[in-house]
């Protein structure tokens, strides 16, 4: 009897089955992923095929109406606009982030940790508070306009706040560190000897940059792009606060459907579309650049 029980014990199975060993060792991760990613995603996916009841509850009727509705001009526009803001944010972050990362990577080793610390410093303050700080800076009587008028560069205050420009500024501000850090990691790995070799073989500095530094920093550019683009697509706080009511992104749409309009199924459908779009972009982008999964490690 005792022996019989032992035959099915977990220990015994693990001792004999290698696949089970792997599965067991990975189980904390697997359970975590199951509870916090797979299960909620399935919930949203199922929800997106249901309908809204008269009182904002979920009616269990299978239908595709939510997805059809997303192709409505109104929503298609929001989607396209979101894509534009996402790409814009990513592109500007790359443009500003690259010189920053390059500077940090080329700074004397003892200064680098301080510079990286400064990049991360804003995260010590709540995001919303920092956005309000930007509102203070950008509004008509804000710091920026006061300063520009004081210097005499402009006579009338610039209307930046509550425009798409303000949204872009806020987004770039928020996501810049996510671009700088992976870029820094890539650039920092490039050895001086590689650049010396390029110079030795007849490449002036700008050519050495184009032929050696830039290609070797592609992994950082891709990682940074992904880290900025994905959250930028779903962002709704910045457009809410800095874009006024005028600028609606898909993130706002989803939030509104869930919290204001109480149309969970439609919000779920919009979420699914957002996810599919970002996934398609990310996969295409990484494959196109000749990198596989190893990049994301």
């Amino acid at each position: 009897m005792e022996k019989q029980r032992h035959k099915y014990s977990l220990i015994k199975v693990l001792r004999e089955n290698q696949a089970a060993q792997g599965l067991f060792l990975m189980s904390p991760t697997n359970i975590y992923l199951l509870i916090f990613i797979v299960f909620p995603l399935l919930l949203v996916a199922v929800l997106s095929f249901l309908a809204r009841g008269s009182y904002g509850e979920v009616a269990y009727r299978f239908n595709l109406a939510n997805y059809v509705r997303l192709f409505d001009t109104l929503y298609a526009k929001i989607l396209a606009y979101s894509l534009g803001v996402g790409f814009g944010t990513t592109f500007i972050s790359l443009l500003i982030g690259y010189p920053m990362a390059y500077y940090i990577a080329r700074a004397p080793a003892r200064n680098r940790s301080l510079l990286l610390f400064l990049i991360l410093l804003p995260f010590w303050t709540n995001f919303i508070i920092r956005i309000y700080a930007w509102i203070m800076i950008l509004r008509a009587e804000g710091f920026l306009n006061s300063f520009l008028q004081w210097t005499g560069i402009i006579q009338q205050p610039l209307n930046i706040l509550y425009t798409p420009t303000a949204v872009l500024i806020g987004m770039v501000y928020e996501f810049l560190p996510f671009m700088v850090l992976p870029l820094y990691t890539s650039l920092e790995k490039i050895k001086d000897a590689q650049l010396e070799a390029a110079a030795d073989l007849g490449a002036p500095p700008w050519k050495a940059f184009l032929r050696v530094t830039l290609p070797l920093s592609v992994p950082g550019m891709i990682a940074g792009t992904i880290l900025v683009f994905i959250p930028a697509m779903g962002m709704f706080v910045v457009p809410d606060l800095m874009g006024g009511a005028k600028t609606i992104l898909i993130g706002n749409l989803i939030r509104n459907q869930f919290l204001t309009a109480r149309d969970w199924p439609f919000g779920a459908a919009a979420s699914m579309i957002l996810m599919l779009l970002t996934m398609a972009f990310t996969l295409y982008y990484t494959r196109k650049a000749g990198f596989g999964e190893e990049l994301l490690v």
Binding site: R110, K191, A193, Q194, E196, A197, A198, A199, D200, L201, G202, A203, P204, K207, R211, V212, P215, L216
Partner: protein, 370 residues
């Protein structure tokens, strides 16, 4: 064509230290390297040999003095405008390019036509026996192969001078020996001046036409391998190149090339070859190589001989290495070549045995003491 391929005129290089001071990496060096020569800079780490090489390449500029390449003062001319190329210690191959692209890089910078690039890269890869590897990436090659790529990449520019910074340092012993001979053969074949930095004295002796021995930013001696080994001009060079025994004493007299030195601890007077600056009354040190000393049961001559006791014996096949101790605890190391194949234990010395040490005057050298 100018007189020298490379020339240093009183070149000095100072580096700032983090504490705000300065450290002298190269200390007033004068150096002339001939065209077509295989010239080695030899010395322990931190002696300034790599800094000197980097000054030729243009990665560093002299703080004072001049570096000339092909008779032209280099001043602050950047590396990409110099007619020298470097093989780096770490190879520094471009990881993101194929072997072909690596080797072609230098020609692309010169904007050579595509057909010429393809032809010349092919020739160079043939020369370093890597023709089949053109499409691979550096990481897919062994250390020895990467080394050849680095060599081909530099040689394709047909430099006036090829600078090699410990290029064999990362290879294992056997491959290293092979590459030493190959490099030497390659240099004969292409006829380019090679300046070779190494801390391995055996490597320098094997390959070089001439060697500059460096220490603490200074060049101590320049000469052929034989000159450096047989006529070291100071204690450091004698000690750094090969093995040697030092006997400290005072110069009693000097006549021509020979000097008589009283070795204080041993209490004997030794006649030996004397270098420059050896005069009666000066403190001096005799350097004698272990393989030049002979030992015997009875003294071989009347002078230059003294008694010592065998302390240790190591039979290593080709040689028998004997450690002796004379009066005043003076220790000597001696290598006796095993010229016979005898198995008779009586033909070997044994520890504790008293024997005679004979120093032939022409094979020991007096160096000035510190």
């Amino acid at each position: 064509m100018s007189e020298f391929a490379v020339e240093f005129r009183d070149a000095v290089k100072l580096f700032p230290t983090p504490e705000g001071g300065e450290v002298t990496a190269v200390d007033h060096i004068d150096l002339q390297i001939q065209h077509g020569e295989f010239f080695s800079l030899l010395g322990p780490s931190g002696c300034g040999k790599t800094t000197s090489l980097r000054m030729m390449a243009g990665f560093e500029w002299p703080t004072s003095g001049d570096v000339l390449i092909d008779g032209k003062v280099m001043g602050r001319i950047p590396p990409y405008q110099r007619s020298v190329n470097t093989v780096f210690q770490s190879y520094a191959l471009f990881e993101h390019m194929t072997i072909f692209q690596n080797v072609a890089f230098g020609l692309e910078m010169e904007k050579k036509p595509k057909e010429e690039i393809i032809r010349r890269v092919g020739e160079l890869l043939d020369m370093v026996k890597l023709s089949g590897m053109a499409k691979r990436k550096p990481k897919q090659l062994s250390g020895g192969q990467q080394q050849r790529v680095a060599l081909a990449r530099a040689l394709i520019k047909q430099p006036r001078v090829l600078l090699l910074d410990e290029p064999l340092g990362a290879l294992d012993m056997k491959l290293r020996k092979e590459m030493q001979l190959e490099l030497k053969a390659l240099q004969d074949q292409v006829g380019i001046t090679f300046v070779y930095v190494t801390h391995d004295q055996e490597e320098a002796l094997t390959m070089s036409d001439r060697i500059a021995v460096m220490s603490q930013g200074r060049v101590l001696q320049i000469g052929t391998p034989v000159e450096i080994y047989e006529r070291p001009n100071c204690r450091f060079v004698a000690d750094f190149i090969g093995e040697t025994n030092f006997l400290e004493g005072t110069v009693v007299s000097r006549q021509g090339d020979l000097a008589v030195v009283s070795v204080t601890k041993l209490g004997v007077e030794i006649t030996c070859m004397a270098g420059d600056g050896i005069d009666a009354g000066k403190k001096a040190v005799i350097s004698v190589r272990p393989e030049k000393i002979s030992i015997s049961q009875a003294p071989l001559r009347e002078q230059n001989t003294f008694r010592a006791k065998v302390v240790e014996i190591a039979y290593i096949g080709s040689d028998t290495r004997v450690i002796l101790e004379g009066t005043g605890n003076v220790r000597l190391s001696i290598w006796e070549q095993n010229k016979t194949s005898t198995l008779d234990p009586n033909s070997f010395y044994h520890s504790g045995q008293e024997i005679w040490v004979n120093l032939p005057p022409e094979n020991s050298l007096v160096l000035v003491g510190e």
